[in-house]
Symmetry: C2
Subunit: 276 residues, 2 copies
């Protein structure tokens, strides 16, 4: 693992690192915020998964997470959203290929050789992270925005034992029924829709439920509401009598201004679970 930068931030350190990923077959960059409490021993860790077009950098610079992470004493990890590079498949559309990994392991050409973001986020990057940073592996939480909200929800639904809490900002809540999902799942996973259900938060919620604290914020003026389909996930949660906090936030859109506005709530929510 190579250190690209380490900058002091809220008495902690905002670092950016690169490592050679086996599952993605390319160098991958990620960011870690270590709060000041990390100097005294291992701290809990929140995974923050970003949305379409983002790298590790967007949330690191615009979401306003570090101040609250420092207050509560938790680390935050900001992974990239796909493999990247000249030799790696891509598409002209912003919502397919590089910057749009959708947190699945692609089985189809030309994506299969590199686009393994599910295995990367759930397997390889945790190994790199816990080997290189003094973090509490038993105290993890996960959060995400838009495509990253989809990632956070589906990963938590599939691997709930790894996390103490999960939250999402404006998640792609039912990708198997949305143009943000059907196009990408067809490309990455093939046209057999049976394989898609493992990556759809609404379908997973209906199937298995989720025994974790769950918080979802969604702006009522989000320009992508029709693609996100929060109503499908809300219905699945209600049908299962699933404990959850769903908040429709009046007037907010899909931007980082929305996320920054409620970041304090999400960080406090996760802190309550992580320090329980």
């Amino acid at each position: 693992m190579e250190t690209l930068s380490e900058i002091r931030c809220f008495e902690g350190v905002q670092g950016v690192y690169r490592h050679d990923s086996d599952v993605c077959g390319c160098p991958m960059t990620f960011a870690v915020y270590l709060p000041p409490q990390a100097a005294a021993g291992p701290v809990p860790v929140l995974w923050y998964l970003s949305g379409l077009t983002c790298t590790h950098e967007n949330a690191m610079t615009k979401a306003g997470a570090q101040g609250w992470a420092a207050e509560h004493g938790m680390a935050v990890v900001f992974p990239d959203t796909s493999p990247r590079g000249a030799g790696i498949a891509d598409d002209e559309a912003f919502d397919l290929g590089q910057g749009a990994g959708f947190y699945v392991d692609a089985t189809e050409a030309p994506w299969a050789p590199h686009f393994s973001m599910y295995s990367y986020i759930t397997g390889e990057l945790p190994t790199v992270l816990f080997r290189n940073f003094d973090l509490e592996e038993g105290a993890q939480a996960i959060c995400g925005h838009s495509m990253g909200g989809h990632g956070a929800l589906t990963i938590a639904l599939r691997e709930p034992e790894r996390f103490r809490s999960v939250s999402a900002f404006a998640p792609i809540a039912h990708p198997a029924a949305s143009d943000w999902g059907r196009k990408q799942f067809a490309a990455y996973l093939g046209t057999d829709e049976g394989t898609w259900a493992a990556h759809d938060a609404t379908l997973l919620m209906r199937e298995t439920g989720l025994d974790l604290p769950l918080l979802i914020d969604q702006g009522t003026d989000d320009q992508f509401l029709d693609l996100l389909q929060p109503e499908a996930l809300a219905a699945a949660i209600a049908e299962r009598r699933q404990p959850a906090i769903l908040r429709m936030q009046k007037g907010y859109d899909h931007s980082y201004f929305f996320m920054a506005s409620f970041m304090a709530d999400h960080m406090a929510f996760h802190a309550e679970a992580l320090f329980a």
Copy 2:
């Protein structure tokens, strides 16, 4: 004045606007954050002047000001740092021309026709602002980063009656004696150094002092410390027995991570003066 965007943020509105500037001779873009309290009547306003290469957008997205502005109930204005456009003089260097107006009124070719950022920030933009937004003209404060810290300090030193408080992050504190200043003042104002003194915080402080609450934060690991020369301004403040808070912040650099880390302090400092 044209509205480019208005986005809900911390229960207020983050807007971006454009107007035709007479003093700059081109359209100018600026951002205003209106806190939720603005819905009930006029609120105080903090000017936030940005540094080299920045537009209105950098601090708006990365400085983390809005949450604190909402808590205290003050507006924040984020102006651009220079005139911009195809027909406007520029230089290949990042620290001269577009993105580097240095908050002076240029008298020299080729800059004089458009580079009038002092008059723009102190005259024209306030007129536009108070005509279009319901703000307390009698409750203004000013803050800035790097080149914008230079702008905030020199404007407050020259027009203290307009402001209730002034603060800066890593300001260019003595430009008449720095490569961040001499080059630009020579280009914009000519080689007669007598004209430079009106735009040098250290020289102005020595000459006139400042009867305003003053807060300056400077990182000890700032990569530009030799260009910023905080020691010159610190000496001038001490020599004049000028009330001020100067903080050398251990380990911090020149980035927005530094600013975000201490934004809460600066906003509380200004709020104390604005709501006195």
